[in-house]
């Protein structure tokens, strides 16, 4: 080694290291593509500091996400309930392991105290665990054996409705996203979720969690960007079966318009709630709207 080279190396070692930043991309079909539109938007902290350039999903990304969701849905629905429960639990495990990372991201995009951010992460982890446990109990709780007046065996059981588009609330970022995605997928649906604005940061990280949790690609697809831009396309999409309007203001004209658009193919619509408390016990309020009841008859004879 020459003398000069050795000197340069010593200088480099002494300089502060620049971090390797993450590129925030979409999560579609199990992959992390950029927006086909090439657009991005700046995610800033409440104080205005730059955090990241997130991919700004376009209507074509939404279309691709629906296609990915549709092709993944049948397989996910066919997986055993036990298996789906394990995958959701695995998501909780992965989330728990990244507790600090999510807490930091929540503080950066939402502001507020670190303790509150940790509380949100914990609530999100617990919510995944809660839904994980539901997978193999839904048909027992929601189904029924019906005593019809005749020689027929007759049972009703819940089945996934198909592809669900969910519009996640802006805040709480991680808990809100979790609270709209988990109940939709636990019963076997596939989801296209719009994570609006600053929500992109924890959303993409959640996508990474899902990508490493044995969740089949396409079961959850995350679009970051503008709800107002993406929602009308999803609401009108004829290959979407249901729509969760959580992220739209209750009573707003947008909420009404989306519901009108959704009526075109009779989507199941969950209307936005006023001042929804995302920390409250969710019950099955977001599970049941995305399940169909199928009733099967068969004669009983010899």
């Amino acid at each position: 080694m020459s003398k000069t080279a050795a000197k340069n190396a010593a200088a480099a070692a002494e300089a502060p290291r620049s971090s390797v930043r993450k590129t925030y991309k979409l999560y579609i079909g199990g992959a992390f593509p950029r927006s086909e539109s090439g657009r991005s938007y700046t995610v800033t902290a409440p104080g205005g500091e730059f955090i990241a350039n997130a991919a700004q999903a376009s209507r074509k990304d939404a279309r691709d996400a629906v296609r990915a969701a549709r092709s993944a849905q049948a397989g996910w629905a066919k997986a055993t309930a036990y298996n789906r429960g394990q995958v959701l639990y695995r998501i909780a495990e992965m989330l728990e392991e990244r507790r600090d990372q999510f807490a930091q991201q929540i503080v950066s995009v939402e502001g507020g105290a670190s303790a509150a951010a940790y509380a949100q992460v914990d609530a999100a982890v617990d919510r995944w665990v809660w839904y994980a446990g539901w997978s193999d109990k839904l048909s027992q709780v929601l189904g029924s054996a019906n005593s019809v007046a005749g020689p027929y065996w007759n049972i009703s059981s819940p089945e996934p409705t198909g592809v669900v588009a969910v519009l996640a609330p802006a805040t709480p970022t991680l808990l809100g996203l979790t609270s709209v995605i988990a109940p939709a997928i636990v019963g076997g649906n596939a989801v296209v979720a719009v994570a609006p604005d600053a929500c992109a940061v924890p959303a993409v990280t959640l996508g990474e969690v899902m990508a490493t949790s044995d969740l089949p690609g396409g079961v959850v697809n995350l679009l970051t960007g503008s709800t107002a831009e993406l929602a009308p396309w999803l609401a009108a999409h004829l290959d979407v079966n249901a729509l969760d309007l959580a992220g739209v203001e209750a009573g707003s004209e947008l909420a009404r318009e989306l519901e009108v658009a959704a009526a075109e193919n009779l989507k199941r619509v969950v209307r936005p709630g006023r001042d929804h408390d995302w920390n409250a016990d969710p019950g099955l309020a977001r599970v049941k709207p995305f399940l169909e009841t199928k009733t099967v008859w068969h004669p009983v004879g010899i």
């Binding site: 020689p151 027929y152 004879g301």
Partner: protein, 313 residues
């Protein structure tokens, strides 16, 4: 089809088990629906007379005597002594030893003599005994033989044995130039499932039965509408495939005119009008005849009649 088909065990099994299955609930529902047809006025009058003409007036008791059989024959020839327009029944059905008595009583009337044979009703006797039983009845003048199948053999899957026995009895019906018609009793009450009823129907037809008959009347349940429906479907399909028409005889348990009309409706809408004839459909019954006569009187006179106005058998 019959001609090419060897009645060997494997061939029969393939054929019988290849028949479309029967859904019990669906078959029952279809029969019940046919039972809701409402037959009124002129159609009812014709139906009652047709039903009378289809009756195999039956006495199959250990206590039967020539006197009893002669009385039954008189009733069968002229069911309504004071009404000459009332038709005779199709046949008088008796045990083999009563055939000479019945034959004599019915001579020249067109009413046939049917004899149960083959160790009726159980059929539990050596083949030689069954054949002797048949030959005796045929030689004594029986026009029709009502045999029983070996249900034990059928239920244990020995289809060839059942078929061979039917074929042998059929041959016995033709002893010495006779040509008695062979009715094969499946005893459906012992066959347990509709799939078995269908298979037994086909088995009997393939083996040469001229008629397939539900029951001996000694086992409960005897004839039911769904079982008769299945047998009618079988004879219809058998004719469509082979060109040979086989008759159907529900026996036992049909006691009212209303029931009889339900059966006729079922014949009409299942096998079709070709079977609406005593040559192709019979009722094996005893008390049915009097109810048919009572209903006949009601239609003719407009007032309800009573048992004192028809003859006891």
């Amino acid at each position: 089809m019959t001609a090419q088909l060897a009645l060997d065990e494997a061939g029969l099994r393939r054929l019988l088990h290849g028949l479309p299955p029967v859904d019990q609930v669906g078959a029952d529902a279809r029969a019940a629906k046919l039972g809701t047809r409402s037959i009124k006025t002129s159609a009812k009058a014709q139906a009652l007379d047709l039903a009378v003409r289809m009756v195999d007036l039956t006495t199959l008791e250990g206590a039967d005597t020539p006197g009893k059989v002669r009385a039954l024959c008189a009733k069968g020839i002229r069911p309504e002594p004071d009404q000459p327009d009332c038709p005779s029944v199709a046949a008088i059905c008796v045990y083999g030893d009563m055939v000479p008595t019945a034959k004599a009583a019915l001579a020249g009337t067109g009413v046939k003599v049917a004899a149960v044979a083959t160790a009726f009703p159980s059929g539990r006797a050596p083949l030689a005994v069954k054949l002797a039983d048949t030959v005796a009845a045929v030689e004594a003048g029986a026009d029709e033989i009502d045999m029983v199948i070996d249900r034990g053999a059928f239920l244990s899957g020995r289809y060839a044995l059942v078929a061979e026995e039917i074929a042998a009895v059929k041959a016995a019906c033709r002893t010495n130039g006779h040509d008695a018609h062979l009715k094969v009793i499946l005893e459906t009450g012992e066959l347990a499932t509709y799939d078995n009823v269908k298979r037994a129907s086909w088995l009997a037809m393939l083996a040469g039965a001229d008629f397939i008959k539900t029951s001996t009347g000694k086992v409960s349940p005897a004839a039911t509408l769904p079982v008769t429906l299945l047998m009618l479907e079988s004879v219809r399909d058998f004719r469509a495939q082979t060109g040979r028409q086989v008759g159907v005889k529900p026996a036992g348990g049909i006691r009212t005119a209303k029931d009889a009309i339900k059966y006729l409706v079922t014949v009409n809408e299942t096998a079709g009008p070709d079977w609406l004839d005593p040559d192709w459909f019979r009722f094996g019954a005893s008390s049915l005849l009097n109810d048919l006569l009572l209903q006949r009187r009601k239609l003719a006179t407009g007032v309800y009649s009573g048992p004192d106005y028809v003859t006891v058998d």
